[in-house]
Symmetry: C2
Subunit: 161 residues, 2 copies
């Protein structure tokens, strides 16, 4: 295992556990909405891989909304790959990198490589900022009707266990 891969794995290990928080969804073609979220990260014992799950619910009605799960894979060169499948049937493969922040936190940036089973989408991107027990993320996407990459989701989560 390379030093870069080891360092990246060590960084991502701070994600292991359960995170809860709130977010909001916006996009040029939809009414804004607010949601609650619970996400989990678990490390594969024998591989440089983390399993990720995400559940969101309407902040006011508590009705469940988006479900997603997938894997973050740390490559030999320290780059990261995030593949997921979603409750609506879409699958995504995103490629990314990890960047250290001066204050001790770190940022993961992903850009879509393959999007399947969702014809409206052209591109997605995700940025996760992790600082101690706080995780904030932004999900952006472009579609055939909104071809510029635009922010779709942003949320702030706290580690709860």
């Amino acid at each position: 295992m390379s030093d870069k891969q080891k360092q990246c794995l060590e960084r991502l290990s701070t994600l292991i556990g359960r995170w809860k928080g709130e977010g909001k969804g916006t996009y040029p073609t939809i009414e804004p909405f607010e949601y609650g979220e619970e996400s989990t990260f678990e490390r594969h014992r024998n591989k440089p891989v983390f399993h990720f799950t995400q559940k969101t619910w309407n902040k006011y009605s508590a009705e469940y909304m988006h479900w997603e799960s997938g894997f973050i894979i740390v490559k030999e060169d320290g780059s990261i790959e995030f593949s997921n499948s979603q409750g609506g049937g879409r699958t995504e493969v995103l490629l990314g990198s990890l960047r250290e922040e001066k204050d001790g936190g770190f940022v993961m940036n992903f850009q879509s490589k393959v999007l399947s089973n969702d014809d409206k989408l052209v591109k997605t991107a995700r940025e996760f900022v992790i600082d101690g027990d706080q995780l904030t993320y932004v999900v952006s996407m472009s579609t055939h009707t909104t071809p510029e990459l635009q922010k779709h989701l942003e949320a702030t989560l706290k580690k709860v266990s």
Copy 2:
């Protein structure tokens, strides 16, 4: 919701819970291997969707092997779609149907529609046979070097909770 969709959802609801068992892997290009497995199915509260997770480990060394998670979506016409992502980075979208068996069990059959992020694969298929608290499955695949669809995995699981 159509009657077909309702019936299919009712059938699949018997999957909800945790399943454990053993399986074996074979393929023309590999040494046969045996594995332990734990799989879970959970129903989305507000959508005709089930979340699936699967972990396998070497039967003898207990070292973790394959991880996978994804969603089974029951369509209006009673057909089913299975999208998943895997610890190696692959994502799959499979289309299928459910068939009732005379003895009260049922069978789910899936054929791949989209395979991403794994260049060696050409096609995958899965058959799940559910009879009370027993689930058996067969995963088949064809690759560029083995172009005929061949059995790769088969396992028998029992519902444990």
